[in-house]
């Protein structure tokens, strides 16, 4: 695969992420923060996000499986997940968290379970997509290309 082609597909892939609403402009900002002094910034942050989120989702599942659900414990987790997802621009995760949190406030266990699944689903979606994205980037870098930051033109 030619470098140009690879770059083109990276562009297209990134564009699709935005079009599907998986990512938002925050991710672009994140990309802009990456420069010579900090070349792996995005992947570092995203990796951190994955680690954190895995842990949080795990905790959440445990908390909600309890017989007596302590919503006071659940809420901070969701809040944190919401915060970190919005920080990296994982828009759909964030939106799901917003709704999830509303149900937490209402202490609606059934809906919380449902939305936990929803959040998980979104999370795995974004995780999957981002991993693919990084793979693509790595391929480009490996073949000596430059990562041109995506410029949303839609």
């Amino acid at each position: 695969m030619g470098l140009v082609k690879m770059q083109k597909s990276l562009q297209d892939y990134t564009k699709s992420l935005f079009l599907e609403g998986i990512l938002d402009s925050q991710f672009l900002q994140l990309q802009q923060l990456q420069d010579e002094s900090n070349p792996d910034f995005v992947s570092q942050v995203v990796t951190l996000f994955f680690q954190d989120s895995d842990r949080i989702l795990n905790d959440l599942s445990l908390s909600l499986d309890q017989q007596v659900v302590d919503f006071k414990k659940v809420d901070p987790h969701v809040h944190q997940l919401k915060g970190s997802s919005s920080s990296i621009g994982a828009q759909r995760v964030k939106n799901a968290c917003v709704v999830f949190r509303n149900f937490c406030e209402q202490q609606n266990i059934e809906a919380c379970h449902r939305w936990l699944q929803q959040v998980k689903q979104e999370y795995y979606l974004v995780k999957n997509r981002l991993e693919t994205l990084f793979k693509l980037e790595q391929q480009i870098v490996a073949s000596g290309g430059m990562i041109v930051a995506f410029e949303p033109g839609f």
Binding site: Q32, L33, L48, S84, S87, A96
Partner: protein, 1039 residues
């Protein structure tokens, strides 16, 4: 005559009432005590007219004095008992009752007084009449008596003194008859001679008749008509006799009767001869006529006796007795007939010698009223007393006039009482109403407050679920939807967003109404704000093809202190309206100092279409502020005056839109009022924006106004007062240096603007000036080329309006080819919208830089940087000054970031590091506090709010406490200031990081001592705005 009297009396009474009214009013006004008795005496007691008039005058003067002084007293009196309605009621009732009782008494007294007065007068009349009659009777009696006395002397002279006697019966009767007019009261006169028993026979023989007695008559007075003197028996033997020898014809029947034989006569005769004076009998029925009569007897003496002669001497010297008969009844009647008004009174005459049994001499015994007058009658006989008693025949008439007067008084008094009563009632009612209204007013105010609170609460409560709804909708949009569904969701989302913005506006309105809205006092960059607002609308304006421009006067300071958010809100409102209603032409925002405008106001000519930005007519800008109080001019001198530290800005937003219909112009600032119901359907919006803008302008001590011509456009103008945010040192610096240091790369450059519209050229000039570029304005390309050849210095760029470019591009390029310049300047095209600029690219020479309006400093700088290839420190995507400035501001700063979320922490750190800051991370509030215990070396702290264990608010509070403690120590000299060279007091800027941008959170941030907030994730412009408040210039960092 009587009418005159009545009139006079009426005047008197009227005057009297006037006085009483005066008195009452003044008393009432004083609310006090007046000497009532003196008043009564003065006003009613004295009937004398003179006294009355003087009293009247006095009273009038007194009254007017009272009135003039009472003018102030009346309200104060009513204020005395504003609350106690009940007291007032009883007080007034007592006043009314007292008034009525008083006047009832007064009217009774008046009635009594007048009637007694009339009685007195009647009595007097009676007395005078009675006395007059008594005197007349007495006088006439005396005349008669004197005459009888004179007759006795006549007899003594001519009967006894002559011998033979010169008088016989015939002579006597003739004489007496002829002189009877002299004795008006006597009915007859007779003379009896003294005859001793020894002389009886001789005498009887001489006279030819025997002496007879007259007793029997008295016993049998009934048959007077059958009186027969012959039937009388001869007198029995006595010691002496007194037979009548001469008699007047009227009493000729008494001749030969022995006077001593009658009981009354005998007594009389004996008394007369011993006293020598006229003596009267008690009244008795006369002989023959049998009428009541009195006999007056004089003794006739032989010789002249001395006045002091003893009774014995007198008896011895007695020769005879002269008697006059007084027929009292007829005589008195005669007498009374001669007098006027005999009908009105009854006269009785009594002999009161025996006071216990007065003998009636005249008059009937008709019983009349008690009024009686007794006048004594003196008939010259000391032994007998007589008196005259007079009475009125009629009963006294009813005292109609006094009754009328008192009744009238009573009626007037009652009327006045009624007036007082009605007035008091009215006052009380008004007071009650007033209280009621006060109560209602309080209720209404409470309701208003409740409404505002309700609005605020409800709005806030609605927002939370709305976020959920919007989030859900957003998610729904991401799912697999067909076109129709997507359309529905979009509509729903748009409506939701509109609802949230409406709620925010309502919240603002409620806050303003409840006076809770307070303005911030922070330093801000006015030009930056205008750039922001401009960029907000740029997409829309470009889409519509409407030219958007901003011009800010040079004299407006770079930094101002005020509330940028609210200022921005007003601008956004006005510009939002403008862009909504403008389809072609331009929207032009100008910011000036008020003073500046005032100076040039007279020189400003009416705008012609050529002088405006887009060449379209606009509404007269001056009209929009003609109603401003600050501008209202009084005789040429403008009242506007600003205190030196205040910056009075005047901002105009001019558009060439549809304008406001004349009929809607009056209610444009009323909340929820729109031009017409169809407006909200076609353009959206709630119509609350202008009302809020008005309130906000008011809060900024400014005003808002507009002028609008339908189909031409509208111009909204508002003023606002800020304080100058420039340090004095900054102000003194070179004006060229005024611009942000970030644009230093452009300084010293020179540009030529080719534009034939002065207004538009001015805007271009303003924006390039801000970058430090010197600008020359020419009206056409020819001129520009000429200028470049002749002008001193090099010209770096030519700015050409798209309009001109489209027209003259070919010619221009040709010319440029033909006659190349020494150093060809960069061509810059100022385009109205993106798409229209494209065709300009097809040129032979260097592709010109295309700048799409609206012009903004940041965008301009970025574009030029790119086009000129200078200062390319930034990635091309990350253009704009916020990043540039931020880099300057944050470079080398030590910043602490506190967040429990690793990802967030990392991202924030990355962002700040990118701007060159030295970042330290902390995962919890507690750790942050330990790091921030002064002295420390941090320049700022970004704090997450929602954290476990200790949240951002509390952490900040703790930090502030520590700082305060430290400051105190420094103040007291306990702590050294060594650690951080220039810090004399500690205040670390703490900025909250929150995803929650609700107003309430913001307020809470400020409350607990935070300096501001940035939303997560970081946004360069917002970050810049907040950070720039604390870090003024990069030079600070070095120190």
């Amino acid at each position: 005559m009587s009418l005159l009297h009545v009139l006079g009396f009426g005047v008197k009474i009227g005057n009297f009432f006037w006085m009483l009214c005066c008195w009452f009013v003044s008393w009432f006004v004083d609310g006090g005590i007046e000497d009532k008795s003196s008043l009564l005496a003065g006003s009613v007691g004295d009937p004398e007219k003179t006294k009355m008039t003087t009293m009247k005058k006095k009273n009038k003067m007194w009254f007017w004095n009272r009135i003039s002084s009472s003018g102030l007293k009346i309200p104060s009196f009513s204020y005395q008992f504003p609350g106690s309605v009940k007291f007032n009621k009883t007080f007034w009732r007592n006043v009314v009752i007292g008034w009525i009782v008083f006047w009832v008494l007064v009217s009774i007294w008046t009635l009594w007084y007048f009637s007694s007065h009339a009685m007195e007068k009647r009595k007097e009349t009676l007395a005078s009449m009675c006395d007059e009659r008594a005197r007349m009777l007495q006088d006439q009696f005396n005349v008669s008596m004197n005459h009888i006395q004179a007759m006795s002397i006549l007899i003594s002279t001519f009967h006894h003194g002559k011998f033979p006697s010169a008088i016989d019966q015939r002579t006597f009767s003739e004489y007496t008859d002829r002189t009877s007019f002299e004795r008006p009261l006597t009915s007859g006169v007779a003379y009896a001679v003294r005859v001793l028993h020894s002389e009886r026979e001789e005498f009887e023989r001489q006279q030819g008749w025997t002496i007879r007695r007259m007793d029997s008559h008295e016993q049998n007075p009934a048959h007077k008509d059958d009186y027969d003197p012959e039937a009388l028996e001869p007198s029995p033997v006595q010691e002496e006799y007194a037979p009548v020898i001469f008699a007047q014809d009227t009493v000729s029947h008494v001749v030969s009767l022995d006077m001593l034989s009658g009981k009354e006569d005998r007594e009389n005769v004996l008394r007369a001869r011993s006293s020598g004076k006229g003596v009267l009998t008690a009244p008795f029925p006369l002989i023959k006529t049998n009428r009541l009569g009195v006999i007056l007897t004089f003794a006739v003496y032989k010789r002249d006796l001395p006045s002091n002669a003893t009774p014995k001497e007198r008896i011895e010297a007695t020769n005879g007795y002269l008697g006059g008969v007084f027929d009292i009844e007829s005589l008195v009647e005669n007498l009374l007939h001669q007098l006027a008004s005999k009908q009105t009174i009854l006269v009785n005459v009594y002999d009161t010698t025996n006071s216990s049994q007065p003998i009636s001499m005249y008059g009937s015994n008709v019983s009349a009223d008690g009024l009686e007058r007794v006048s004594p009658l003196i008939f010259g006989d000391p032994f007998r007393n007589h008196e005259m008693r007079c009475r009125f025949k009629q009963k006294p008439p009813w005292p109609v006039l006094p009754m009328m007067i008192s009744l009238g008084m009573l009626v007037i008094a009652l009327l006045i009482a009624h007036i007082i009563h009605a007035t008091a009632n009215r006052i009380i009612k008004v007071q009650e109403d007033c209280d009621k209204m006060e109560l209602l007013k309080k209720k209404a105010e409470a309701a208003d407050v409740a409404k505002s609170q309700f609005l605020a609460t409800v709005s806030h409560e609605i927002r939370t679920p709305m976020n959920g709804v919007l989030g859900m909708l957003h998610m729904l949009m991401d799912t697999e939807l067909d076109v129709t569904q997507l359309d529905y969701v979009r509509t729903a989302q748009a409506s939701g967003k509109a609802l949230v913005s409406l709620i925010n506006e309502v919240l603002d309105q409620a806050k303003i109404e409840s006076g809770k809205l307070e303005l911030e006092e922070v330093r801000f960059d006015l030009r930056g704000i205008l750039d922001d607002v401009l960029s907000l609308f740029s997409a829309k304006s470009q889409q519509k093809g409407v030219e958007l421009a901003v011009y800010i006067s040079d004299r407006v300071p770079e930094m101002l202190i005020g509330d940028p958010g609210r200022f921005r809100q007003i601008l956004t409102n006005l510009m939002g309206n403008s862009i909504k209603f403008t389809e072609k032409g331009h929207i032009f925002v100008t910011v000036n100092l008020v003073e500046e405008l005032l100076e040039s106001i007279d020189g400003e000519t009416a705008s012609s279409s050529e002088s405006t930005l887009s060449g379209l007519l606009v509404a007269d800008r001056q009209k929009s502020w003609k109603n401003f109080k600050a501008f209202s001019s009084s005789n040429g001198h403008r009242s506007f005056a600003s205190s030196p530290p205040d910056i009075n800005l005047i901002v105009s937003v001019e558009d060439t839109g549809v304008g406001i219909p004349l009929e809607a112009q009056s209610r444009i600032f009323t909340p929820f009022m729109q031009v017409g119901p169809s407006i909200s359907r076609t353009h959206g919006g709630t119509g609350i924006g202008l009302s809020i803008s008005k309130c906000l302008a008011g809060l900024m001590k400014g005003e808002i106004g507009f002028s609008s011509t339908p189909k031409v456009g509208s111009t909204f103008t508002f003023t606002a007062v800020f304080s100058n945010g420039m340090q004095p040192t900054e102000r003194k610096s070179d004006p060229q240096n005024n611009n942000q240091p970030i644009f230093s790369e452009f300084r010293g450059m020179k540009a030529v603007v080719v534009d034939h519209r002065p207004a538009r050229a001015q805007v271009s000039w303003y924006h390039f000036q801000r970058l430090g570029i010197r600008v020359e304005v020419v009206s056409c390309v020819e001129q520009a080329l000429r200028y470049m050849k002749t002008g001193t210095g090099t010209v770096n760029m030519i700015l050409i309006e798209q309009e001109i470019w489209n027209r003259e591009a070919d010619a221009f390029i040709k010319k440029l080819h033909k006659d190349p310049l020494v150093q060809s300047p960069k061509l810059v095209l100022l385009a109205k919208s993106v798409d229209s600029s494209i065709d300009a690219l097809s040129t032979g020479i260097d592709p010109p830089i295309v700048i799409v309006k609206p012009l903004r400093a940041s965008m301009l700088a970025a574009t030029l940087q790119r086009g000129l290839g200078i200062g390319n420190r930034e990635t091309p995507q990350h253009k704009g000054p916020p990043a540039l400035i931020l880099r300057n501001l944050l470079h080398g700063r030590k910043i602490l970031i506190v967040d429990d979320n690793n990802v967030n922490l990392r991202v924030a750190a990355g962002a700040l590091k990118k701007y060159g800051a030295d970042v330290v991370c902390s995962e919890s509030g507690i750790k942050a506090i330990s790091l921030l215990k002064p002295p420390h070396e941090f320049d700022a702290c970004f704090m997450d709010i929602q954290m476990p264990e200790m949240d951002g608010f509390e952490a900040t509070r703790k930090i502030r406490d520590m700082e305060e403690e430290m400051n105190k120590k420094i103040k007291n000299g306990e702590a050294l200031i060594v650690e951080n060279g220039n810090k004399s007091s500690w205040h670390l800027p703490v900025l909250a990081m929150t995803a929650d941008v609700i107003q309430a959170t913001h307020e809470e941030c400020l409350k607990c001592g935070m300096d501001g907030y940035v939303s997560k994730p970081f946004e360069a412009e917002q970050l810049y705005r907040e950070v720039s408040r604390f870090f003024n210039s990069p030079s600070d960092t070095e120190s």
